[in-house]
Point group: none
Chain length 216, copies 4
């Protein structure tokens, strides 16, 4: 069993090695233009070896998403575990957490966006697909909880917590995508962080219930 375990760990190490390489290559070239050959070279392995650890290109790519989602969930749950904090404090912590996730892997949004394609979904192991769905579900659930809490406590505007969470997440992903695109096209300076901070600030103002009564 000790041997079994060691083998298991060794195998996991290899998977990580490949994923690190894949992340670099996919970041640089995007999914279509990155070749398995590229990734193998970056990982200092042979193309064939990649297939010992990942069913195919799509699954390798999806595994990257999985890893980010795992990290995302970890951070979100950590935020939710802040026992003494109120929903507003948790929301602020959540914003920080999500920016951390973005910095951990800026591809997060593009990755998740890639999952949209039904062809992609078809090529995944049902198991992997389930894991992904599960992680997304849990993460969103955790976010929803904060909003539900905030609404319940009368701190946030009284809207469906799921809708609030969707808006929150959309704002996050929208800023990342738009600011990245904008930079590509107009080749100007990168204001992503600032815009993100502003966006979250506005959102926060938007959902707050004011003492004197909001527009609602």
């Amino acid at each position: 069993m000790g041997i079994q375990e060691r083998k298991e760990r060794e195998k996991e190490r290899r998977r990580q090695q490949i994923m690190v390489a894949a992340k670099r290559v996919f970041s640089e070239k995007g999914f279509s233009r990155a070749t398995m050959e590229d990734i193998a070279q970056e990982a200092e392995l042979s193309p064939g070896t990649l297939y010992l650890y990942f069913k195919n290109k799509e699954e390798l790519y999806a595994s990257l998403s999985l890893r980010i989602l795992q990290y995302l969930l970890l951070r979100i749950e950590h935020v939710n575990a802040l026992k003494p904090a109120g929903p507003d404090e948790k929301l602020k912590a959540l914003m920080e957490a999500m920016y951390d996730v973005y910095e951990f892997d800026p591809l997060i949004i593009i990755n998740m966006f890639h999952l949209q394609s039904s062809d992609t979904l078809k090529n995944l192991t049902p198991q992997l697909l389930d894991e992904i769905k599960d992680l997304i579900g849990k993460s969103m659930g955790s976010i929803v909880k904060i909003f539900r809490d905030g609404v319940a406590k009368g701190l946030f505007i009284d809207r469906h917590p799921v809708a609030l969470a969707d808006t929150f997440w959309s704002l996050f992903s929208g800023v990342i995508l738009w600011m990245t695109s904008k930079k590509m096209i107009s080749e100007g300076k990168d204001h992503l962080k600032e815009t993100l901070v502003l966006a979250f600030d506005l959102f926060y103002r938007g959902i707050q219930v004011k003492a004197t009564g909001g527009s609602d």
Copy 2:
């Protein structure tokens, strides 16, 4: 002249015919998995004919973006032309306009996102690229104007109008992408419209300066 004109119109009709087919095929399969053969078949033309009207696949795709952007700009400028309206009214009209644009072509966000790729940019006629950049620039400029006006009149929170416009646009594109993805993955009901309405509402609350003084 009559003949010249008729030919010109005939040619334009063909372009449209191809673009309509391309839109259908790209919507269904995405850029990479759509083949020129597919599009030709959809357009009931031969593959070679496509190349009489579009330099290559990338340019055909980008032409779709161009068309949406033209429509977008048209709608935005129309909003801005509402003479008697104040910034807050214009902003509300803008939200409506953008949803119309989305309904006119739901691919708008994905298309614009596709432009990000430097490989895509390389394959475009400089002229087409310029047109696209110009349209994006004008559209954003028009949106910025509304915010600048609102800030100047003390109606909107005092932030950089460009940043406000970026946030506005990010929210729009983020909701579309996220709600589309979500539907793909969880196969649930499509709450896009409602989420968009909520998102814009929150945004509007967020930028408003309250009578009793904002948080700023």
Copy 3:
């Protein structure tokens, strides 16, 4: 009939117009890379029109060869018509004539070389092919005659006149091809004319029967 004739002449004019354009385009791009579209544009005609005058691309190309061969034969026969001249004088005149032909159309050798391909031959009208063969036959026959005469008169070395003519022609075409290739590869100065003069001079020395007896 006057009308018939005029039409005939008009038709011939068009053929010439196309051939002139084709010659320019083929010279610049070579057979494979030249497109019928290119030629049509150069001729200020539409692609379809080309096919009213030439069966296909191969035949258009072969027609250029035919024209040069016609000119070649004309010049050779003119040389042979120099009544009072002896074979040695005629040979010198022939050399001059052939260089004129080369200047008239430097593609002569490449054109003739192109005919080699059996696929080319297959694509020609039998009639055109016959004309070409006929012209080549007559031209070579005319050249052979000079050598036969020279041999008979004891001026030229006693070898088969056809073989002498073949050698003569080979030398001519070899110099043109080699000097052209050489220039392409080494990008140096063009010594074609000088080499041609030297080559013919050596050839002349080589076939001469010396007063004191040759090496033969």
Copy 4:
């Protein structure tokens, strides 16, 4: 090391296998009409494999030229290494050698002629192009040396050795091309060898300095 070496040798074997197939196909169909598919089939390999060993079609073709040029240089240098021989004997040996080269690969002239195209040159690896230029340069240099020697010793007519070498080479290539063309067109017997012998004989007579003085 044994393994490295074996792999290297195996790889070289494959290259040869492909080149042999390519030679057959190119001989039969010429460059343009030969397809990579044809060659792959002839080599009993898949099209993709060809690209593991050759960058593209042009480079595969050029590699054939390279091989012949290598053999050519080998033979020429061997001739030049005949220590006790005088220039006249070397020249005769050279003629033999060149005919051997032709028999080794009758495409030699056509191949070299193909290199003329600037489009071909563009598609080659700079390294391959350099090798080719180098081989041509060395071969011509070696031939020039024989003539320079002959001129210096008063055996050959006093002309620029480079020009003599060009003429010599032109004669060789011209005879091959012309006799091949002629056979194609007139479908008669192949007199190539005889014509080549005669041509070289005449050339030899032409450059010889006679005891009683030449025509020069």
